[in-house]
Amino acid sequence: MNKKLIVITSIVVFSFILAVYTNLTESLGPLGLDTRFLGKLYVYFTNHEDLRLSTASLEPVTAIVWDFRGLDTLYETTVFAMAIIAIYSLFRIDSLEEKGSLNSSFTIIPRLVTKILLPINIAIASTIAFHGSISPGGGFQAGSILAVVGVLFVVIFSYYALNAKSINPHRTLLFMSLGLIAIVVVTLIPLAFDVFFDNAYLIQNQPKLDSAFGYPKRVGGLVFGGSIGLFNIFEFIAVSFGFLTAFALLSIPEHVFKEKLRGEESLE
């Protein structure tokens, strides 16, 4: 009890001193008054007239995420994929053969509402992904919205209903891997250009001062953002199927795992 009291007191005192110190010395800058110079630079160069300095996008946040600090985001995607693969190996199930039907113990109201909501949800997610370089949003946000479809489906129907639609963890992990491979390919295309044609750099988006390589700025009259648009689409695929893998694994009925654990014990 005494130890607990000491720790609580030290946390309270430490956070209070930290808050007062940062507030009085303004070491975080004046709160809420002005945008920092670095932030203004990012906004200024997001859609600069000179293509060699621009990211060809209309959304500074997406431009920072996939162009200015693109390597950061690549590693972030790697961390996410590693977590999903770790979960998959932890919950490995060999046979998921049981086929189910769309029967549900719920009344017609939640079932019908779910069926209406599913296409709307998919449409919204796709819009957010494809418009990621124009308006706020992007691949990750769209992927999380699409993953909600899977959760809703499992809650209203069942895991077996998901299985009846041929969606199982093995398959969703495959699609996630395809999305990740596509991201790697988009990253490596400039390097291939460098080897065979002219100077180019890793994760290059628009032409630079000493490099002519550039992804298309517009597709069909719509601002696409070069590699940013491609990254958004592939990240959308990777994240949505990554989440679906996790949720599908979470929704596998408990008795399947119980049997598996019992089987391992009897083997010993």
Partner: protein, 127 residues
């Protein structure tokens, strides 16, 4: 003048509240014996730090960092919030989510093996 003072007081208040939330969630991570509560505390911890980062980039009476439909870049530069904390927080959210998912799956496995998530009971069972 009065309006400015009120703004300043409110901003400072939000800042102190965020720091206090971080402290409380740290307490939860250290002292709550149940794994679920520890995971909830960790998410509150990371979320309040993310909110603090967004708050540092915030500007009063501002617009979101968006160039669509804006013809004058100087107007955007004068009124926009800082986009950098938002981009960094986006990265932090994804990684935090990956970590939380992994923690949840490990706790689920632990529950299947021991039948409880109370760390005191698990410690007793292991002895």
């Amino acid at each position: 003048m009065n309006n400015e003072l009120l703004d300043n007081v409110l901003l400072t208040y939000v800042f102190y509240v965020l720091v206090a939330t971080i402290g409380i969630s740290l307490y939860g991570v250290i002292f709550k014996p149940h794994l679920t509560k520890k995971i909830i505390s960790i998410t509150i911890f990371s979320d309040s730090i993310n909110l603090l980062a967004i708050f540092i980039g915030y500007k009063l009476y501002s617009i979101p960092p968006e160039l669509k439909g804006m013809s004058n870049i100087n107007e955007v530069l004068n009124r926009t919030v800082d986009p950098l904390p938002q981009a960094l927080v986006l990265t932090a959210i994804v990684i935090g989510l990956a970590v939380t998912l992994f923690l949840i799956f490990i706790s689920l496995q632990l529950f299947r093996l021991h039948g409880t998530l109370d760390l005191r009971k698990i410690k007793e069972l292991r002895e």
